[in-house]
Symmetry: C2
Subunit: 298 residues, 2 copies
């Protein structure tokens, strides 16, 4: 398996965009044409979620650089929901798509080794090319996750500056003249620098919300080689220029990270009332094209 | 459903100990008598993990105040492992045991609502009396978790001071003269004070590692009403007095939290070589009794 940063860069260049499709199967937002998803964990809901998420994957192929399933929405359907997540991840990898599992896992070292078993690499039960993780418990807790990522050619995205309005409550606390998230990035920097591919891209990335573009620029200065996973573009309010603030313009286009959009891509207004699979797909294709164009125009 | 703090206090008094049994099915540490658990996700492994964890639950009944399954070890077995976790949680609740789901979930608000669906309350697919959560993303992200906990009589334990050696990398950063974990506790204090039962116990607790007893005392001063979930007792190196540093001695015994032990209770040396269920159970009973006695003697 080649290096995560190499595969990420290839995926961006092949699809022609750093756009990432978030796949969050909110039952209440899924169009009725996928079936009745009102009863949590019921056979009908599980089938609807499987059909919906696989249809999203189909629309993603070749048009976005990666997909990012959000574990919470699958867990909310119980173990059968987790089966669908495994199926989705496997189908995406088999189709050559990059899969970012957004599970934000964290624990002490020996337990993180079990999370690594569960989530990191193409052969994990919930297969991925990269996993989002939380480093609040300390850098020592990242070791088993990094070890597995290194062994499987996978990546990690460490939560550093999240996109939510209240992100600053902890992340902005002043630590000796700098906000906490700078201090976290400084601790990640040597770990990121130690795992670069031949083009200087690291397998250790961060999550840096599109809603804080100035922070993304500051983080890029601290972490020049790290891929940035950027949530918050679109429905959460950030425009394309803000979303791209931490990425790098190259001759071949944007590089250095993924701009995620979820609701803007899989729940566009025009898709909600679709009465056929074809009209639903057209609405998704249009939404993906709009976001691709918006990012390309920056 | 009565208030979480009331049920916690009742469970401690009924069992006569604040001891909590961590249930982490490490396949490589499970005695051979539970079957061959070497192949991840195989039918034999799933059966072994189900038999082992239910046998642990059986040993826990009446002898510890709560059980704390660790999600990572179930996730590592894929969706069938998650089915076993749901089965274990349901069986424990049906038996009147308190269940702390140790999943350390965290995300932005709208996604945390899905984690609340998955993990909080007796009717969740992964049923619990309380869930461990990570607040690094900000206090706003706790809102949907607290709302679900309040609605279902459940509790939350927010990671504040973890038991691992490297916990200080982020948690000890100096924020205006105090370590970060103090500042986090200060932000939790009004939320904890707002959800107390008639005895002054809160549904909003924290995780405070047994390996840092002085920090636990400082945290108790900031959070007088919060239950403390205390990992790190036993195999991680902390003795009983250290583990109890943040709890409260009352006329009826210890109160105000749970002292978790995992490896010390479910993987004692004498159990590893057990060749019959009866001798395994005797080893577990002895380990539980030793820990009960150690805590009672402080």
């Amino acid at each position: 398996m080649s290096h995560f940063a190499t595969r990420l860069s290839d995926a961006i260049h092949r699809s022609g965009t750093p756009l990432c499709m978030g796949i969050d199967p909110h039952p209440s937002m899924m169009p009725a044409l996928f079936g009745d998803a009102r009863e949590p964990g019921s056979a009908a809901t599980i089938r609807a979620i499987e059909d919906f998420t696989l249809a999203c994957l189909d629309a993603a192929k070749g048009r976005v650089a990666a997909i990012k399933p959000q574990a919470a929405f699958f867990e909310a359907q119980g173990h059968d929901g987790m089966r669908v997540l495994a199926t989705l991840g496997r189908a995406a990898i088999d189709a050559g798509m990059l899969v970012i599992m957004d599970a934000k896992r964290n624990d002490i070292g020996s337990t993180n080794a079990a999370y690594a078993d569960a989530w990191i690499g193409h052969d994990a039960p919930f297969p991925s090319d990269a996993l989002t993780v939380n480093a609040f418990l300390g850098m020592d807790t990242l070791e088993p996750l990094l070890a597995r990522a290194d062994a499987t050619g996978a990546g990690l995205f460490v939560l550093t500056r999240t996109s939510n309005p209240g992100a600053g409550a902890i992340q902005d606390l002043d630590v000796d003249g700098k906000p906490l998230f700078h201090r976290l990035a400084e601790q990640l920097a040597p770990l990121a620098a130690a795992r670069c591919d031949s083009n200087g891209g690291s397998a250790l990335g961060i999550v840096a919300g599109a809603t804080w573009p100035e922070d993304a620029k500051a983080l890029r200065a601290i972490l020049p080689s790290s891929p940035f996973l950027v949530p918050g573009f679109g429905a959460q309010g950030a425009g394309p220029a803000d979303a791209l603030a931490g990425l790098q313009r190259t001759d071949a286009g944007w590089d250095g990270g993924l701009i995620n959009s979820t609701r803007g891509l899989i729940f566009p207004k025009a898709a909600a009332s679709a009465t056929s699979t074809a009209s639903w797909r057209q609405a998704i294709d249009d939404a993906v094209e709009d976001s691709r164009t918006a990012l390309a125009s920056v």
